[in-house]
């Protein structure tokens, strides 16, 4: 019996931490492709495809734009994501304020119009938008992609901003007005700073969604090639290692940005105490 004691303590430990172990395994599943992308950014493939490990090399990191058209598509995606974020954030914030702060007719209809784009398969939206553009005789390209991206990012911004504005105490604005702040002053110095985290979250989400979108872009881009479309094409023609370099860099930048944001937030919270 004594020999079995370590086993039983091990099993007891296992049972107590089952959730933690299962959760960490899921986290591993989520991050496994990122690990593979990072490792294969240091690969030196023999053929056109970068799917099997050959030998270590830093060539791709030294020359990230060494593939024809890749960095062009990357900068195009960044531009589209920037303008789409700006458009969707401005329009979405306005809608969110109207929905939370005012009672008006057609409120239910507006809410369902906001909800529907999130509840519809992307391929349906993509195909129907293409039908519209074809019927209007619109030239497919930068503008049609931008229009589409603002459209599908809008709902997500509204949801993010709404959540923040809803949890905001309206008495703060009343207090500002009691202290003789005008409506513009109240908005700029009280309302906007409080709503800012929600707006920032919505903007970040819009940027990520727009930058990463493939399905809607694929339908409405014509011959314009965004970064996801370049990756899609390369999956058929042969994937250059540089794609993994960009993927790794994007992951690292995202982590760094969020960590930096958290540090700044913590410092600011300490200061205000």
């Amino acid at each position: 019996m004594a020999a079995l004691a370590p086993f039983s303590t091990f099993f007891r430990w296992l049972r107590r931490n089952l959730v933690v172990i299962a959760g960490l395994l899921t986290l591993g599943y989520l991050l496994l492709p990122n690990v593979v992308v990072t490792v294969f950014s240091f690969n030196k493939p023999k053929g056109r495809f970068n799917y099997s490990w050959q030998e270590f090399s830093t060539d791709a990191w030294k020359d990230p734009c060494g593939v024809a058209d890749m960095c062009g598509s990357l900068s195009l995606s960044l531009q589209i994501a920037f303008w789409a974020t700006l458009g969707a954030t401005v329009l979405g914030t306005m809608i969110a304020f109207a929905l939370v702060r005012y009672r008006f007719r057609a409120r239910g209809a507006v809410s369902s119009l906001i909800f529907l784009p999130m509840a519809m398969p992307e391929v349906v939206m993509a195909a129907s938008l293409l039908t519209l553009f074809l019927n209007m005789g619109a030239q497919l390209g930068f503008w049609t992609v931008l229009i589409a991206h603002i459209m599908f990012c809008l709902s997500f911004v509204v949801t993010a901003v709404k959540a923040r504005v809803m949890s905001m105490d309206p008495r703060l604005e009343q207090a500002a007005q009691d202290l003789y702040a005008g409506p513009v002053q109240t908005f700029l110095r009280v309302t906007l700073p409080i709503a800012a985290p929600g707006i920032a979250a919505g903007a970040l989400l819009a940027f990520a969604l727009s930058f990463d979108d493939f399905i809607i872009t694929n339908f409405n881009a014509g011959s314009t090639v965004t970064f996801p479309m370049f990756v899609w094409g390369s999956a058929q023609r042969g994937t250059p290692v540089q794609i993994n370099v960009i993927g790794t860099a994007m992951f690292l930048i995202a982590v760094l940005l969020v960590v930096a944001g958290m540090v700044v937030g913590k410092r600011r919270a300490k200061k205000s105490l």
Partner: protein, 308 residues
């Protein structure tokens, strides 16, 4: 007493009451106008155009005309019902797997992570910033023939089980239904974890203590307290996973074969390669209607469970 009455300010000096605000009744409409117009023109109107396209006949050369040709719907359903069925099965399997895999992680972040909470949340969201196409292509490497995953499944004799289920094919995982479901599960997992986490985080920890005080075992606490209270997260997570998964064609294209084509693949091919717009439009509408039906049914069902 006299000093007090003297100290009271004279009434006449008070500033006049502000007039009730009259303007501002149109403000919400001005706030809504640009965004709603955008959605009406580029979301609602296209759906109407698509509805009209689905009942048109004609050819690309001579142009299409609305002839109320509803037979397109029947033909599309007759030709592509296997792909529809496959979409529902794959998306359903991926949703169940997402729930099973995502729940422990969401629970871990909400209750057990402590000071690691923010870091784990970042690690859940950060992969979003690496293009999902790049990450899906990475699965090609992971699931490759003769790779570690195939080897592990083989030595555990799990491959025999999946072969028997028809999810894999011999010694291969790539280009089989299992690979597609694995990719779908992976791609939509964060959409399950985040709503689950939000609803779990709202649960008052004292309820767990109370359950423990009443001699509930951990599993009973979970079954009777935690899980029912997390139902809103389960419902929205399931919807956020199932709907996009059912319309996806990227995973089936990159990780599957011609035998794993889903509705999304058919719509994409019809629209962009064959240029058969009426059939593609009809297929999109059937997909949309099917999803709306299932979602309404599901919300009703889960809604009543919530009340009980």
């Amino acid at each position: 007493m006299t000093t007090l009455t003297k100290a009271a300010p004279p009434e006449a000096d008070e500033p006049p009451a502000r007039p009730p605000r009259r303007r501002g009744r149109l403000v919400p409409y001005w706030l809504l106008l640009p965004g709603i117009l955008w959605l009406l023109v580029f979301f609602a109107l296209p759906l109407i155009y698509q509805a009209s396209t689905s009942v048109q006949t004609g050819s690309l050369e001579e142009g299409y005309k609305v002839t109320w040709h509803f037979a397109t719907y029947w033909d599309a359903l007759g030709d592509y019902w296997p792909q529809f069925l496959r979409s529902v099965i794959y998306a359903g399997a991926a949703t169940v797997l997402c729930l099973l895999l995502g729940y422990p992680l969401a629970y871990l972040i909400a209750f057990r992570a402590g000071r690691w909470r923010n870091l784990i949340l970042v690690l859940v969201i950060a992969p979003f910033f690496t293009s999902f196409l790049i990450r899906t292509l990475a699965w090609k490497t992971i699931l490759a023939d003769g790779g570690p995953v195939v080897g592990a499944l083989n030595s555990l004799h799990l491959l025999d089980v999946t072969n028997w289920l028809g999810a894999t094919d011999g010694d291969r995982v790539l280009a089989t239904p299992l690979a597609v479901v694995c990719g779908l599960t992976y791609n939509f997992l964060p959409f399950m974890i985040l709503p689950l986490y939000t609803s779990l985080e709202r649960i008052d920890g004292r309820l767990h203590e109370a359950a423990g005080d009443l001699y509930a075992r951990p599993f009973t606490t979970f079954r009777k307290v935690t899980f029912p209270l997390s139902m809103p997260g389960v419902v929205s997570g399931t919807l956020l996973t199932f709907i996009p998964a059912a319309g996806d064609y990227v995973n089936a294209d990159l990780l599957g074969s011609t035998d794993t084509r889903m509705v999304g693949n058919v719509i994409q091919t019809q629209f962009l390669r064959i240029l058969d717009y009426p059939t593609a439009a009809a297929l999109s509408f059937i997909l949309m209607a099917a999803i709306l039906l299932m979602v309404t049914f599901y919300i009703r069902k889960s809604g009543t469970e919530d009340l009980v």
